[in-house]
């Protein structure tokens, strides 16, 4: 199947700094990809290039289109929520629905109203009267009512409380995602998305530090928890990262077989957050 996003040597410069540094990337359809990286790693720059919001160097094709030249056409098949609360503050909800319906050929008013009925947002509300959480609900309702092939979410839940965040991802997964669609998410709140992701991309200093499916991650990385007396043995197997918690030593291994580690202590699959920290630390050294 043709990839949804395909990049070769994707580069974004701001003056002399390389925000995105010759990235090669391929995202197949039907995936939920987490693009995860520290602040300033180039996540947003990469997304903006993919969405046709910024100029870039290198080859980039999204759904077979050139995003910088064909943004309007691309937006018929791609939708994005870039950050929370970017809906115009002056607009009323019914006007927002109206204008979206008239501009977007794949928007379904009925579906949007269905989603909105589950919230406290009413049609006559102005966006500026809504709380941040309600604005996010409204934006999600709009986006989920659009039948697109790629949905890009850039920190869609930043600053929302835990209830809204949970609900946001639950609706996304239950009511929206299917095999035809691809979702690309960046967020700092890794714990909240890790259970819905199918693929992980870590990005550091404009380069890709890790690109793997969640299954592959599970195969490849192992976390080992040992008592202090066996720490030296564990360390000899060259863990990529070590930390201490409640007097236990926790090691993270890349490509070390589970049989080899099993005798030393408890084995786990590392959380994405721990894997992320370990990968970033390794990248720095």
């Amino acid at each position: 199947m043709t990839p949804i996003v395909s990049a070769r040597g994707l580069t974004k410069r701001y003056g002399r700094t390389l925000a995105v540094d010759h990235i090669d990337l391929e995202i197949p359809p039907g995936r939920i990809v987490g693009l995860i990286g520290p602040n300033g790693a180039g996540k947003t720059s990469a997304l903006k290039a993919i969405l046709g919001l910024a100029t870039y160097e290198g080859e980039l094709s999204v759904l077979g289109k050139n995003p910088s030249r064909q943004r309007a056409a691309l937006m018929e098949d791609v939708c994005f929520i870039a950050d929370v609360a970017v809906l115009p503050r002056w607009i009323r909800v019914w006007q927002l629905i109206d204008v979206t319906e008239r501009i977007h050929p794949r928007f379904s008013r009925a579906r949007c109203l269905e989603y909105l009925a589950q919230t406290k947002v009413t049609l006559n509300h102005r966006v500026k009267q809504l709380s941040k959480g309600m604005v996010a609900q409204l934006h999600l309702a709009l986006v989920m009512a659009i039948d697109v092939r790629l949905l890009v979410l850039d920190e869609p839940t930043l600053g929302l409380d835990i209830l809204y965040r949970k609900q946001f991802y639950t609706s996304l997964l239950n009511d929206y995602f299917d095999e035809e669609r691809t979702i690309l998410i960046t967020t700092h709140q890794v714990e909240e998305v890790e259970h819905i992701l199918t693929d992980l991309i870590f990005i550091q200093d404009g380069k890709i530090a890790l690109e793997a499916s969640m299954d592959a991650v599970e195969q490849r990385y192992t976390e080992l928890m040992v008592k202090p007396d066996r720490a030296a043995e564990a360390r000899a197997l060259q863990p990529m990262f070590e930390r201490e918690l409640f007097g236990r030593h926790i090691f993270l291994y890349d490509n070390v077989s589970r049989e080899q580690l099993a005798g030393l202590g408890e084995l786990h699959t590392p959380s994405v957050a721990d894997l992320f920290v370990a990968t970033m630390k390794r990248g720095e050294s």
Binding site: K48, G52, A72, M75, H139
Partner: protein
């Protein structure tokens, strides 16, 4: 087309205050002043004796005199509307490509499948057609109301408003002339509109400053260099803009001509064009060399605005 209309509709929603409320307020002011003056007259004028005499005197004037004056009063009422419309359009265009960058809602608008060119066209159409049209409609409405009030007044002192003024003026022609002059002025001022959109797309903050400062600095430098070189003051950018306004096809001034007040297209300070308010004179401006140059300048500015808009995001 459907998308373009949706975008223009969007502009109307966002600018309801400027586009709709403002002309309504002006119309309201006219009506209120008319009513106030009637009550003032009624209060001091014993049984409206003076008013009755004035109407009687007016009725004795020849038809041509009354017709000419009635039309001038009608079009003269538009001056206030036109002036405020100019302000509204100026500030609308300054904010048109700036406000959504400032409040970051550009990120939402750019997530819709509407091209940046279409967006700019929708903003231009709102400034060139939508706003003038609404102002014109409210102006017509105001005139109808004022006509009714005046007729009632004239009736109340026993004169016939039909023979006095209703039958001799041709409101449709006056209104039509005004509408054409509005739309013609929209085209005439395209270079300015283009400049405002360019600034609106470019300004990192305070677009007003970026709109006004460069031309002012440029004009002052021009004057200064001219003065150093030739010790004379030749026409500078100020002069060009001033002339442009004076040549505009909008009814902008009233002046005294042959002993009576007359309205004029633009300001009768230049002799490039005939300033008498006629449709032919309005079109004369649109098919002039100046207009051609103006359109070329506008195209440059608008291309720049589009180039910037394509690259614009929230930061």
């Amino acid at each position: 087309m459907k998308r373009l209309l949706a975008l223009v509709h969007r502009e109307f929603w966002e600018n309801k205050g400027a586009f709709r409320t403002t002309p309504l307020v002006i119309g309201g002011i006219y009506i209120v002043f008319l009513l106030m003056s009637i009550f003032t007259t009624a209060h001091f004028d014993n049984e409206l004796y003076t008013f009755r005499e004035a109407v009687r005197l007016l009725a004795e004037q020849p038809v041509e005199f009354r017709a000419a004056h009635a039309e001038e009063v009608m079009l003269g009422t538009s001056l206030f509307f036109t002036l405020v419309l100019a302000f509204v359009v100026f500030f609308y265009l300054l904010g048109a490509l700036y406000d959504d960058r400032k409040d970051r809602s550009i990120l939402f608008w750019k997530s819709l499948p509407a091209s940046d060119a279409l967006t700019i066209v929708s903003k231009l159409l709102s400034a060139m057609v939508l706003a003038p049209l609404i102002f014109w409609l409210v102006f017509v409405l105001t005139q109808i109301l004022m006509g009714i009030i005046a007729s009632v007044m004239v009736l109340s002192v026993g004169e016939n408003p039909w023979t006095l003024f209703l039958s001799i003026v041709n409101p449709l022609q006056a209104w039509f002339t005004l509408l054409v002059s509005y739309l013609a002025a929209s085209i005439w001022f395209l270079p300015m509109y283009g400049w405002l959109l360019l600034v609106s797309a470019f300004a990192p903050r305070i677009p007003l400053l970026f709109a006004v400062l460069p031309p002012v600095v440029f004009a002052i430098l021009q004057i200064w260099i001219d003065f150093l070189r030739t010790f004379t003051l030749d026409s500078s950018l100020f002069g060009v803009i001033g002339e442009w306004v004076a040549n505009s096809p909008a009814i902008l001034t009233a002046h005294v001509h042959d002993g009576r007040g007359t309205l004029a297209l633009g300001a009768p300070l230049t002799d490039d064009f005939d300033h008498a308010v006629t449709l032919a004179n309005i079109f004369d401006r649109l098919f002039s060399v100046q207009m051609l140059v103006g359109l070329a300048v506008a195209a440059v500015f608008l291309t720049g605005a589009l180039w910037l808009r394509r690259r614009a995001t929230d930061s």
